[in-house]
Symmetry: C2
Subunit: 364 residues, 2 copies
């Protein structure tokens, strides 16, 4: 029998955050692709677009005019998925299998920069630091509102990821409930903190309890430079293609020097390093296929300012492209009905991202 | 305060199969869509395409020639995601957070019909019955192979759902492990069977234990004809937009007259009615936006022939289209990072599907 080779032999890997398996079938990358190809995102957008409802001074579909903002710009989503309280209470379910839960909250849009054509990957570090400050401000503000139990910051980038406006922006949905996935992750972190015996030198969580993500970052950093899954690393942050990555070039970004529960706990240097890491990841993403790389990004952290600090701050990047700027991975039939499946190993993806230039291809 | 109206007020619903919540925000359907639009699937394909690797007599990319088949046609996937045993065993994980599990198995492709242009929605009932017989045959065959613990039958339909060939076909992936989602569903069914006290008249599982899905079908059928979530119902099968639907026009199809664990347990009449139900659902799907409606479909059942019969046979249809033949729902940022979110209620979706003609728009 052959010796096990992760780049040839199918195997399953466990995601300890969700307790779900991923089927890794790297030899599948060899098959020809005859399916759908994606339209390229334009790289020659104007700095200002009079028809864009996010550009400074322009009018949004709700009729409101944007300020002539000069840096970031925050406003409430005109089509919010959750609404402010009081929310009418749903009647009692006619059957236990028809369970409903009331929900209230608010949805914000955060425009990253006045320039219509400057994605995160093309912004200067100080501009990214301003975005981080806005994230902290809105996380704090929404956390303090009555009944808010969770603040989800995310970005959908690229038409392929359902983004309806190329003007760089993210969203913040704040809810009176902890959503499914963060709740699952928090439960896994709590279980790890309670049940793990470790002598590792990784940072610990509060009361000296083990933190799964501090430990995971520590392990990843321990591998030799040209091995393992580290994509970029600076003084405070490390970005890896996680062992259990689902999306082809998925990235997990997290601080590794100490246990940090939320963006509001970051010190000045840690914020600077955060901006640097965001810049480095998004530049490499764009450089991979010389395109404006689509992804969904989300920040997971302590649900609110005053929540339980078992959480360790981290960001997930979920990008769909697989083979080229126009050929994506489809997470469909088997993936939707059974379990995630990927066509290259996390190590292969990390090696490719790591090898790329830290200078954006459009600035060359 | 307003009275609760599910078509206006955001709320969360629980999926008892996965124990995950869905955020329902029906008022979001009102927002304008400025994002990506999808290419329409051609409706004028030829009955035979000399360039198609699935048409009878043609050669596949691996070099093998297809038989001159007259009904269904089954062959092993030339780019299988899992390979036959013996699978080389992965070395012991260097750390518990880097856990690997070996996996082996096989992947089959099932071509539905020799005609390149006849989707399930356009096949005659007897042709669909032949597909059902093939599903039973391959489920049986793969079940009996050494070490196989799960047989996942599914179909990706439409380029939008990662299908690379419009010639109607499905797939069967058989594995030496029960994948994540079926394992979760089976655990929920087992828990329901063990812990539920019910006096309902719904069919029961083996040893008279309650079955969550028998009970759920029973509840759905109990609603008045023009209410509720039933889309189509015949002598043995009912199709509903489930209470907890994630995809806009998601459908759950299941037998409701008795507890049936797997397709291999279906009697002759039940199979006929199964073919009828598949036809009725897929015709309505196509009629919704007068297009060849894309979806991923998967059959969930007893993992293998001899497995535990806590499972109740059911099919999930996961179709992405939301507003028209070219505007889909994107399950992206919030959905990937927090929890599923939908823009119309299950009841609204069911009412629309129910109202459609049972005759295919291309046959009018
Ligand atoms: O096997 P196919 O049809 O080539 O590929 C399709 O289905 C697979 C199983 O759902 C997915 O992993 C692929 O991303 C998709 O393109
Ligand atoms: O809010 P937007 O940008 O209009 O919409 C986008 O992000 C939302 C949150 O992930 C999704 O529900 C939508 O499907 C997507 O198109």
């Amino acid at each position: 029998m052959d010796e096990f080779d992760p780049t040839t032999h199918p195997h399953r890997r466990l995601n300890p955050l969700t307790n779900e398996y991923i089927l890794v079938s790297p030899h599948r990358a060899k098959r020809p692709w005859l399916g759908q190809t994606e339209t390229l995102q334009a790289t020659d957008l104007p700095a200002y677009d009079p028809a864009c409802y996010l550009c400074p001074g322009n009018t949004r579909s709700g009729g409101q005019a944007n300020e002539a903002y000069e840096h970031t710009y925050l406003f409430e989503n005109d089509f919010a998925a959750v609404l402010p309280p009081p929310a009418p209470i749903a009647p009692i379910a006619p059957h236990p299998l028809l369970a409903t839960e009331p929900v209230h909250g608010g949805c914000d849009v955060l425009v990253f920069h006045p320039r219509h054509n400057l994605t995160l990957s093309r912004l200067a570090r100080p501009d990214i630091e301003r975005i981080i400050e806005e994230w902290i401000a809105i996380y704090t503000k929404r956390s303090l509102q009555e009944g808010i139990k969770y603040v989800q910051i995310f970005e959908n980038k690229g038409a392929m990821m359902g983004c309806s406006n190329p003007h760089p922006h993210g969203q913040v949905w704040s809810l009176s409930a902890v959503p499914t996935l963060p709740a699952t992750e928090l439960a896994s972190l709590e279980k790890y903190a309670q049940t793990t015996q470790t002598t590792s030198e990784a940072p610990r969580g509060s009361q000296g309890r083990p933190c799964m993500l501090c430990e995971y970052a520590h392990v990843e950093i321990g591998f030799a430079e040209d091995q393992g899954r580290v994509v970029v690393k600076n003084e405070h942050w490390v970005a890896v293609v996680p062992w259990w990555a689902t999306w082809p070039f998925e990235v997990l970004l997290l601080p590794y020097k100490r246990h940090i529960s939320a963006i509001s706990d970051l010190g000045a240097e840690e914020k600077e390093a955060f901006a640097d890491a965001l810049s480095q990841i998004t530049i490499r993403y764009d450089n991979l296929f010389s395109c404006l790389f689509a992804y969904s990004m989300g920040i997971h952290q302590r649900p609110t300012l005053s929540g339980d600090d078992v959480a360790h701050l981290h960001l997930h990047f979920a990008p769909p492209l697989l083979r080229s700027a126009s050929v994506r991975k489809f997470l469909v039939g088997y993936e939707l009905m059974a379990e995630a499946q990927r066509d290259l190993t996390a190590e292969q993806a990390a090696a490719r991202l790591r090898a790329l230039s830290g200078k954006h291809f459009l600035e060359e």
